[in-house]
Symmetry: C2
Subunit: 402 residues, 2 copies
């Protein structure tokens, strides 16, 4: 047989010519080597998975042959999701629930539904890479807005674009515990964002994987609780149950569901009936409230340990966010520190990893002096040890510059 | 709160303005009502699922917490797939295997990778609707070719387009047991298709969900066994294990895999580690050869029963394909019979359902006098009874016309 052609010989679509692997996912692969203490990924703690009750639920649904068959979105799961949304402060009905193969699929489906090739998107300058990836095939014009590390996305900057005649296919908001910045959108900005969406008739896609993982007492309503006209909500079981379910949902106006169904069918026909039934059976088994309470307690503790360790071991020039929930802390080092180079040093000298900030930048060059730290995947002891080791290298690095 | 906006008020992408629900999937939903004997869907027989050994495999992998975590494509599954491909007559290595969330995702990923907006596609006039759906967002110019009911896709017609200066983002081939036509591509045409692809540097996407479900002795090699340069192969566990796994694979040139990975990540980040491990463990358990032999025997029997019943009960004017494998028989009735209207009659009078041929037509109006019958989902007794009832209504219908 002939040798395989190189990608360049394959007549692929124009948008793919600049296609690169996700820097983020590449780095996560590199930093997942044995012996590395990694704060890089966005992994939940596997020791907290509700493994046994989920295995019981799975065994139960596997007694029924039709759990292995093609089938429609499962009504029992929609009912459970309505209950989860009520815990999140959102009142909705099963007719508004759209099952997805993870929240990433929801983002992809909505982007395909809302964005024209060459269209315009307003996006935060530093934002979840999965939200950037789904835009790439459309080769959009991207207008960026900054994000305040205390109050979240700069809604005034969005309004200024819109008042100036710009449009956006949708407005993307990680309202609670932003990935990678850790910030939650302030109460005032939530209302401003909804007003802007309504005034300019632009849908908001609210990506809320961490909404049920808030560790402080103050609970703010998600955008979907404030508006059911322009907000489409994306939920996920990855962080509250298990990533390997690849299961999520949308809360969307029922009139859109037939069209969104066609777009979803392109991608994978339907989400696994088996996984849907196992998740619904687990949620109905009564184990979930205790499980979620345990997640909140343990992740809240790990966050506190990491914040304390940052205060104890990081140099005075460093600044960081204090997330109310989620999995990430964002650290800013003085200008001039290159965290991509720093990562090589910390892996070589201390076997500790993180994600350099530039991996999340929409505009190249942004976030070079920043890093994202994950606090959900390592124990408190390892967090304290790892942050101490990171702090030592960073102190030396800053010493060299100043 | 305000009432939900109607879809028209949502500023959706241009291509969605003509978006309709898949006629096929809508019909499958309609015909799935209780009391209807349905030859409509493409469902495997649930009583043949290897439910117990699969449940054992699932229980085994759920003893390991990391089965519920994010993770890379599972090496153990790739090894098993290499073994399946060897059974299919294809020699390949794990480095060429790309795991997908069902073969539909493979088709979607490859279309996004290969087709430009407004690009050109050469496609059979009657073809699997999922292959048509993935094209829709690109609003392509579609050039159609006919399909011979004995020898398959008209490769000469494809060559004529290409010789005339037309291109196609890829050539789509359901080489074995075509959905919906039931025909397999002849040996000669397989070679002609590969030669055309090489001559004009156009990739072939070979969609092969039924390749291991051939019931006759004569086995022809898939396109991928004849060429590893231009053929990208799509495999699926839906028909040989269970649809609810939503698990499939590609065999593709290794050099393309990093780029295809990025395109797949847009859609769902990764395929479920849990499902991948359960499938790999089931395949390694030794139950698969016996299971596959049982599927072949039972589906082969059901096909034979349906073919005999068609000969016994359908009027002399009807013609149909004799599939070597797969799940479908295609029936042509005399011009003037409208199978969409016929379906209403057969459901009302006989409670028997099928899919009218026009549901698979690329050019509107084609296939109006045709129907697709599924033989995998009903028992032999029901097949004989249902075909007799269908034959009666069709006989009356033809009597009215002639």
């Amino acid at each position: 047989m002939n040798p395989s052609p190189s990608p360049a010989q394959f007549p692929s679509a124009n948008w793919t010519h600049g296609l690169k692997r996700s820097v983020l996912r590449q780095m996560i692969a590199v930093t997942a080597q044995p012996g590395i203490l990694s704060f890089a990924g966005g992994l939940p703690a596997p020791e907290l998975f509700p493994r046994e009750p989920f295995a019981e639920a799975m065994a139960q649904v596997l007694r029924e042959p039709l759990s292995l068959q093609y089938g429609p979105p499962q009504a029992a799961l929609k009912e459970q999701i309505v209950g989860l949304m009520a815990q999140r402060g959102v009142s909705c009905t099963p007719e508004q629930i759209f099952i997805t193969t993870g929240a990433q699929q929801g983002l992809d489906v909505l982007t395909r539904f809302l964005l024209n090739p060459g269209g315009t998107m307003i996006l935060e300058n530093i934002v979840y890479t999965g939200a950037q990836q789904v835009l790439a095939p459309f080769q959009p014009r991207i207008l960026t807005v900054p994000t305040d590390l205390q109050a979240g996305m700069d809604v005034k900057a969005i309004e200024a674009y819109l008042a100036g005649g710009e449009r956006s296919a949708y407005l993307y908001s990680i309202t609670e515990a932003h990935n990678p910045l850790g910030v939650s959108l302030s109460h005032t900005r939530r209302h401003q964002l909804i007003e802007a969406a309504a005034q300019y008739a632009i849908p908001i896609v609210e990506d809320d994987p961490y909404g049920l993982l808030v560790y402080d007492d103050e609970l703010l309503p998600p955008l979907r609780a404030l508006d059911d006209q322009w907000v489409i909500y994306l939920g996920s079981f990855s962080k509250i149950l298990a990533p390997a379910l690849r299961l999520g949902w949308m809360v969307a106006p029922p009139a859109l569901l037939p069209q969104l169904t066609v777009v979803k069918e392109m991608g994978d026909l339907e989400s696994s009936v088996l996984i849907q039934r196992a998740a619904a059976t687990f949620l109905a088994s009564g184990h979930f409230p205790e499980h979620l309470a345990r997640l909140r307690q343990e992740y809240g503790h790990r966050r506190d340990v990491m914040l304390q360790a940052l205060a104890d071991y990081f140099p005075a020039e460093a600044r960081w966010t204090r997330p109310r929930g989620g999995m990430f802390i964002w650290v800013e080092l003085p200008d001039g520190v290159d965290t991509a180079a720093l990562l090589e040093t910390t892996i070589a000298q201390e076997k500790v990893a993180f994600i350099p900030g530039h991996a999340f930048a929409v505009e190249p060059g942004c976030g070079r002096n920043c890093l994202r730290l994950n606090f959900s995947n390592a124990t408190a002891e390892k967090i304290e040890d790892g942050i101490a080791r990171l702090g030592r290298v960073i102190g030396e690095e800053i010493g060299k510059i100043c």
